[in-house]
């Protein structure tokens, strides 16, 4: 169920972000399906491979896409559990995404380029720094609800005996902030990275895929969008209403995803990218926010 919705959202997500940016900068801008059309054109093209690269470089886009696709299967939709669901499934979720990152990084090193290594190095470091925030957040939500899988946690987050909805929604807001910024870090968007910059020296993700072309490039671009939708649906899961009709939840899902896209677009319109050496501080800030959630849960469960 949810995987279908995520795929639908991925059709227009980046388009929406770009459209927001274009409106803020006073341009007419491309239609919201333009990124998808670009990807389709890329999929139909032939490719050019670097003579330096090996089979690693050729297989990585497939690996990267598969990991995100499988990870999407973990995410529940309100009362519906995800296709894959078991206790502590979020550990596997995070590690499968990490597998994709590993391959992405070595694929960049495979080209022997002086630029792509730069992106690889940054990607490896930043994603390492971002990892604890996810685990602490989910761990705290698990502690709040007393459950340990995505489905159970999200299903009961606002219905736990110990916390009133006001508190749980505010914790949910905090958690969504964490997930949103994690999404930005994972996808290398402003303020971590500027995908539209013209200088390779200042990029992270874009510089890693300099040598990809054709089908591979299309796959990587689509995976990026999918990853966004993935984090968006994690956020959406925190605001579903349990007992209402499924159509209302679908409406909530789409409006939250759209809101997420609008926020990203707005952020990108009004913010500049951080200096590279300040990124670690910013990413570690996410961990401290997640620690706040943890302490909040501690207060609710009466340990403080």
């Amino acid at each position: 169920m949810n995987i279908v919705l995520i795929l639908i959202v991925s059709l227009f997500f980046t388009g929406l972000v770009n459209r927001t940016k274009s409106i803020f900068s006073g341009r007419k801008g491309p239609g919201i399906f333009q990124p998808l059309k670009d990807i389709f054109r890329l999929l139909k093209k032939g490719s050019v491979y670097s003579t330096t690269s090996s089979f690693i470089f050729r297989i990585v886009p497939s690996v990267y896409f598969s990991t995100v696709l499988i990870a999407a299967l973990f995410i529940p939709f309100g009362g519906d559990r995800g296709l894959i669901s078991f206790q502590f499934d979020f550990v596997l979720f995070a590690y499968i995404l990490a597998l994709g990152k590993f391959f992405n990084i070595i694929s960049a090193l495979d080209t022997g380029s002086s630029f792509e290594g730069m992106g690889a190095s940054r990607e490896a470091l930043y994603s390492m720094l971002a990892e604890p925030a996810f685990f602490i957040t989910i761990g705290s939500l698990g502690l709040l609800t007393g459950y340990s899988s995505f489905y159970q946690i999200f299903n009961s987050i606002h219905y736990s005996a110990s916390a009133s909805p006001v508190i749980s929604y505010s914790l949910g807001m905090l958690a969504s902030v964490v997930f949103m910024f994690l999404g930005l870090v994972e996808n290398s968007r402003i303020p971590i990275d500027d995908p539209k910059t013209h200088l390779e020296l200042t990029m992270i993700h874009e510089v890693m895929i300099l040598d990809n072309s054709g089908f591979d490039l299309g796959l990587i671009l689509y995976t990026g969008i999918l990853k966004f939708a993935l984090y968006g649906s994690l956020i959406a899961n925190m605001f579903f209403l349990n007992s209402t009709h499924i159509l209302i939840n679908i409406f909530i899902f789409f409006s939250l995803q759209a809101l997420f896209a609008l926020t990203v677009g707005t952020l990108e319109s009004f913010m500049a990218r951080f200096r590279m050496n300040q990124n670690p501080q910013f990413i570690l800030m996410l961990s401290s926010v997640s620690l706040l959630i943890f302490l909040g849960v501690m207060i609710i469960t009466g340990k403080i």
């Binding site: 032939g46 490719s47 003579t51 590690y95 470091l125 604890p132």
Partner: protein, 658 residues
């Protein structure tokens, strides 16, 4: 020709020992404990040889690693064919080491245990210093030898104390006695033993011998040392945990703390290493930390009577022992192949080897993924078990306990992330890109006998990753030694975990098949398309050079800036100052900060004191005879000390009454 006979003989002997002991061990693993009691003598007392399921688990791991080790070693030592004497000693010691390690796992008599422990240390020492003509090798070997013996002192003291208390040298005698031990005594005893065995296992800050010994040993020995020898330190700790019956909570918290520090410290230093084997050695410290985290939370679970926690912790820890022995030996064998073909282990000088040695590269990649704990390989399974324990433990206990467990979660996640940084560097720089220097001969794929053991280890890595339930079932008996409830009351937790692991295995298979299907689709799409090969795009620059590639140092530059306070990096920089500046030089060298504070500084004052006693070593034989006589006299006096004391107190009483 004769050499070949010896080689074949060694392989047959190793496989023979392995096969025969494995059969016995596999009986023990399914729950039939085997016990043989040798009569012994006055000093030893009875010497029981017991193989319970914990010993069996270790023996099976040892045997597998030795089989891969002997096969790989046969190929690896081909380059030393002219050194007949050294090879013979090496082969002999190999068998001795194998035998003594199995005995360490079976002998359950305090004195006999120490003896086989020493035989193991000694034979490992001789195996490490195979290249004894290299001064650094001997130094590293001696470092290992001395540190091992410092550890033995701690073990010896606590063993003597136990023997004096119980009057028996049998391990089993302790159990009855330790049930009523005050918690403080129990903890002190454990800490002593933990330090003693920790030297072997390489817990921080007792790890300093590891980064020297691993790079200097021949690669199959480093693989085995990291794979199984240091694990016997863990075995010792586990065995002693079985004997001690009180104070589990505090003991567990101590183990957990030391392990978190080891895990983080190991990987933090691993990243900045540029010697491939030294990097792997620091990763051994990290993985010992992960094993320790598992054992630590298992012990905490025992202390809290929380069976879920105990099962998750011990299963994770014990499984990680096996996992680490597989992927770490595979990594060391890979590093050895690289060394054999290129003559260097300096990561900065390597590059592009995937085109010359595709099989070695592929196998190294599998091991690298596994050691980072990524699914669908084996490292993930054990880390998952540990994670499940940690997350479930957040609920129990006070605020400080929850925070402690949360720290452990964050630490384990960070370790995983740093490991990814480290192994993308190691694999990416060594095997990918262009060659960074010219080698004397063109590297080529290593021969079959060196590849076969690697394929064996890789097959096991996949087997555990895809069929984890099978191995969890095997662990049921070893874990039940710690958590007896597993066989009846808490079996629910266990089967629950097993069901989850089955799902993880299935998801792993799903992932692999999706990747292949997608790759097939891509091939289908590209079937009529132009697939061209061009040089890497240099962002407009048209004369790229292999020197322009990202290097290992530059790959981790941001990281090392960030973490600099924890490292001690010496930079030497020759500035250009004259009108006609000379050559510019810049070099960095990083050193283990803890080694400086724990080992080097203490050695300095120790040396100062000992130099004052230098006059004793005057080289005259008369004096040495005198020392001997004095020593014997002292022994007699001490043994009569009790008698003299009685006489003395008798006199004292006599006088005080008057």
């Amino acid at each position: 020709m004769r050499n070949k006979i010896y080689e074949i003989a060694l392989i047959i002997i190793t496989i023979g020992i392995a096969a025969s002991t494995s059969i016995i061990a596999s009986y023990a693993l399914v729950g039939r404990q085997i016990e043989i009691i040798l009569s012994g003598n006055q000093i030893f007392g009875q010497i029981p040889l017991r193989i319970d399921s914990l010993s069996a688990w270790m023996i099976l791991i040892i045997n597998f690693t030795f089989i891969t080790g002997v096969l790989y070693g046969t190929g690896y030592l081909k380059h030393y064919n002219d050194k007949i004497k050294e090879l013979r000693l090496h082969q002999f010691m190999f068998v001795i080491l194998h035998f003594s390690m199995i005995l360490v796992c079976t002998v359950q008599n305090f004195i006999a245990f120490l003896i086989v422990w020493e035989i193991m240390t000694g034979s490992a020492f001789l195996l490490i210093i195979f290249e004894y003509w290299n001064k650094a090798t001997v130094k590293a070997g001696l470092n290992y030898f001395i540190q091992s013996h410092v550890g033995v002192v701690f073990i010896l003291v606590s063993f003597i104390w136990i023997i004096a208390q119980t009057g028996s040298t049998d391990f089993n005698a302790v159990t009855a006695f330790s049930q009523h031990l005050p918690v403080a005594v129990s903890i002190t005893l454990f800490v002593l033993l933990f330090i003693g065995f920790g030297f072997k296992a390489g817990f921080v800050p007792l790890h300093t011998w590891l980064p020297y010994a691993h790079p200097s040993a021949p690669s199959h020995i480093s693989g085995m040392m990291s794979g199984v020898i240091i694990k016997l330190g863990i075995y010792g700790i586990l065995r002693m945990l079985l004997l001690i019956k009180t104070g589990y909570l505090v003991i567990g918290e101590i183990i957990l703390f030391v392990s978190i520090v080891s895990g983080l410290y190991g990987v933090i230093l691993a990243i900045v290493q540029h010697n491939l084997k030294k990097l792997l050695a620091y990763h051994s410290i990290e993985n010992i930390g992960i094993i320790g985290i598992g054992i630590g939370i298992g012990t905490i679970g025992l202390g809290l009577n929380n069976d879920f926690l105990a099962i998750a912790g011990f299963c994770g820890g014990l499984l990680h022992i096996l996992n680490h022995s597989l992927f770490k030996s595979l990594l060391f064998y890979g590093a050895g192949s690289v060394y054999q073909q290129t003559g260097t282990l300096d990561i900065e000088k390597l590059g592009g080897l995937i085109k010359r040695m595709p099989q070695t590269a592929g196998l190294f990649l599998i091991a690298a993924l596994a050691i980072c704990g990524l699914p669908p390989l084996n490292g993930f399974i054990s880390e998952f078990l540990i994670f499940s324990g940690l997350f479930s433990s957040l609920k129990s206990g006070s605020l400080s306990f929850s925070l402690y467990m949360l720290t452990a979660v964050a630490a384990l996640v960070t370790i995983g992330g740093l490991a990814i940084l480290c192994f993308t560097k190691a694999f990416g720089i060594v095997f990918l890109g262009n060659e960074r220097s010219h080698y004397n001969k063109i590297p080529e794929e290593v021969n079959f006998i060196m590849l076969l053991p690697k394929y064996m280890a890789a097959a096991m890595i996949f087997a555990i990753g895809l069929f984890p339930r099978l191995f969890l079932e095997l662990l049921k008996n070893p874990v039940s030694l710690f958590v007896p409830n597993i066989l009846n009351g808490s079996y629910g937790y266990y089967s629950n975990q097993a069901a989850i692991l089955t799902k993880i295995g299935l998801i792993g298979m799903l992932l692999i098949s999706v990747i292949f299907i997608l790759f097939g689709i891509k091939k289908y799409f590209e079937r009529y398309k132009v697939v061209a090969a061009e040089p890497t795009w240099g962002c407009g620059y048209v004369a790229p050079d292999s020197k322009m590639q990202y290097t290992a140092s530059s790959f981790v530059k941001t990281y090392s800036n960030l973490i600099e306070p924890a490292l001690s990096i010496h930079k030497s920089d020759v500035e250009m100052d004259n009108v006609f500046p000379g050559k510019k030089e810049y070099s960095t060298h990083n050193y283990d900060k803890l080694e400086f504070y724990v080992i080097d500084k203490n050695l300095k004052w120790l040396r100062k004191i000992l130099l004052k006693l230098n006059f004793l070593q005057n080289g005259r034989i008369q004096f040495y005879i005198l020392y001997g006589v004095l020593f014997v006299l002292m022994i007699i006096l001490i043994s009569y000390g009790e008698y003299l004391w009685q006489v003395f107190t008798g006199f004292y009483k006599l006088f005080s009454i008057n």
